[in-house]
């Protein structure tokens, strides 16, 4: 590790690695640090992502693609099933990844582009001189270190600290966080090309259960619940109940826990010498919880904005604000809309979910986009969705 860089990226998930790669491709001197000793592990993800979006960033590789899915089935609390084809289910289905391998593959592309990568290296604070951020203090294998940089990128995930240190309030409210538990379950009967979702307040209050195939007889079985809906049972407890009901014979070979920001993107993603990307910037989708693609998009924008700023020798908040603007253009509209939809959907009771599922019987779902589907739901259930009218 050197004592000075153009850019230090804190966190080597997909968003951080793409930010580091993009900055390095622009000729900048980049350090990418990861506090864990292994990039990509332990996993904190359901691992589903859209094919099209992902392929903007990475060449497909069978080593990190566990399954390709071409549809989704959504089960209402009473068992009514709504089946969606790939086109309809949109960019949230496509691949089920092996994040342990994928995250490393993305980090390798950053290294190949010229970024220096360091693991077991944690940022502990920002170096500030007359109020201006000019590097980080941290711990590298237990020893204190300092490294200077013109710009620091916070890609430090849901537990982000970089933003807080820079004066950006990133604290999530319990109503804006989905808290999740998941098992990797093997030797079970599943549909190997379908992502399945189970709704219902008894199963996952303010969230849903997912079954994402990772092989012919293997799946990520998990659920997320809204933090504010806690009444004594934790996600792990709901998950045990679901397993007992659906896969009593399943063998659990991995436990995964995590949480997803469901707040919509932060109002402020940058300040003097600091930018936030990925979950740290809360760019994950408030409805689906999907964050891989959004994270990488924000990382790419950050890398390019930083390159321009450093070339112009101006890393002020004003200059870096282009990051906020471009991320908002790329993702903001969708995130704002889905946040409004989430605020409504999490209040839906089981009867409403059953009614909606029933109302879709007989609808040709093959040639519809998700907004079109929601429009169809709203049209078919006049009066139920007044709050959503006009959104879709």
């Amino acid at each position: 590790m050197k004592s000075e860089y153009d850019v230090i990226v804190v966190g080597a998930g997909p968003a951080g690695s793409i930010a580091a790669r993009t900055a390095a491709e622009n000729g900048l001197d980049v350090l990418l640090i990861e506090k864990r000793q292994e990039i990509g592990d332990p996993v904190r993800c359901a691992e589903g992502t859209g094919k099209e979006g992902l392929l903007q960033f990475m060449e497909p590789d069978s080593r990190w693609i566990c399954a390709e899915v071409n549809g989704a089935r959504i089960y209402a609390p009473n068992g009514t099933c709504v089946e969606l084809t790939e086109k309809l289910a949109g960019k949230e289905v496509g691949y089920v990844l092996e994040r342990k391998i994928f995250d490393r593959a993305v980090a390798k592309t950053a290294a190949k582009a010229g970024a220096e990568v360091q693991v077991k290296t944690q940022a502990t604070s920002l170096i500030k001189e007359s109020g201006v951020v000019c590097g980080i203090k941290g711990k590298f294998r237990g020893d204190d270190f300092e490294a200077r940089a013109k710009v620091v990128v916070g890609a430090d995930g849901i537990e982000s600290k970089v933003g807080k240190w820079a004066g950006i309030n990133t604290t999530l409210k319990p109503k804006d966080i989905e808290t999740c538990a998941q098992f990797l379950v093997t030797d079970i009967d599943i549909a190997p090309n379908s992502c399945d979702f189970y709704m219902g307040n008894a199963r996952a209050p303010g969230g849903y259960v997912w079954v994402f195939p990772k092989g012919k007889r293997e799946a990520n079985v998990g659920l997320g619940m809204l933090g504010s809906r806690f009444t004594g049972k934790h996600p792990i407890d709901y998950l045990h109940e679901f397993m007992a009901w659906k896969f009593p014979e399943g063998k659990i070979i991995e436990t995964v826990v995590g949480a997803v920001p469901a707040s919509g993107m932060l109002k402020q993603l940058s300040t003097d010498g600091v930018l936030l990307v990925g979950d740290a910037g809360r760019v994950s989708d408030p409805i689906t919880g999907g964050g891989i693609y959004n994270g990488m998009v924000s990382g790419r924008i950050a890398g390019n904005v930083i390159a321009d700023a450093i070339k112009a020798n101006d890393v002020s908040a004003k200059k870096l604000q282009r990051h906020d603007k471009e991320v908002r253009e790329a993702l903001g509209k969708l995130l704002d809309r889905n946040y409004k939809a989430k605020e409504f959907v999490v209040k839906a009771n089981d009867n409403l979910m059953n009614t909606v599922a029933r109302s879709l019987s007989g609808v040709n779902l093959d040639d519809m986009s998700v907004p079109r589907l929601l429009k169809e739901i709203i049209t078919r259930n006049p009066g139920l969705f007044i709050e959503l009218a006009g959104l879709f």
Binding site: Q37, I158, K161, I177, A181, V256, G258
Partner: protein
């Protein structure tokens, strides 16, 4: 005070993200809680594993 059951914790960082006082840190595979903690207990409610507990301080 907040206690962490390290054997139950899945080190996911959910608790860190909701702490209004920035009192929690996730260091690799363990949680550290410092004296900025105001015992509000929000973290105990978002823990996927139920590893955090708000207990009465001993005098």
């Amino acid at each position: 005070m907040i206690t962490v059951n390290r054997y139950r914790c899945g080190y996911c960082g959910a608790c860190v993200s909701v702490c209004p006082n920035d009192a929690i840190d996730l260091v690799e595979t363990f949680i550290e809680i410092d004296d900025k903690c105001a015992n509000c207990g929000i973290c105990t409610k978002v823990c996927p594993m139920g590893a955090l507990e708000l207990v009465e301080d001993e005098e």
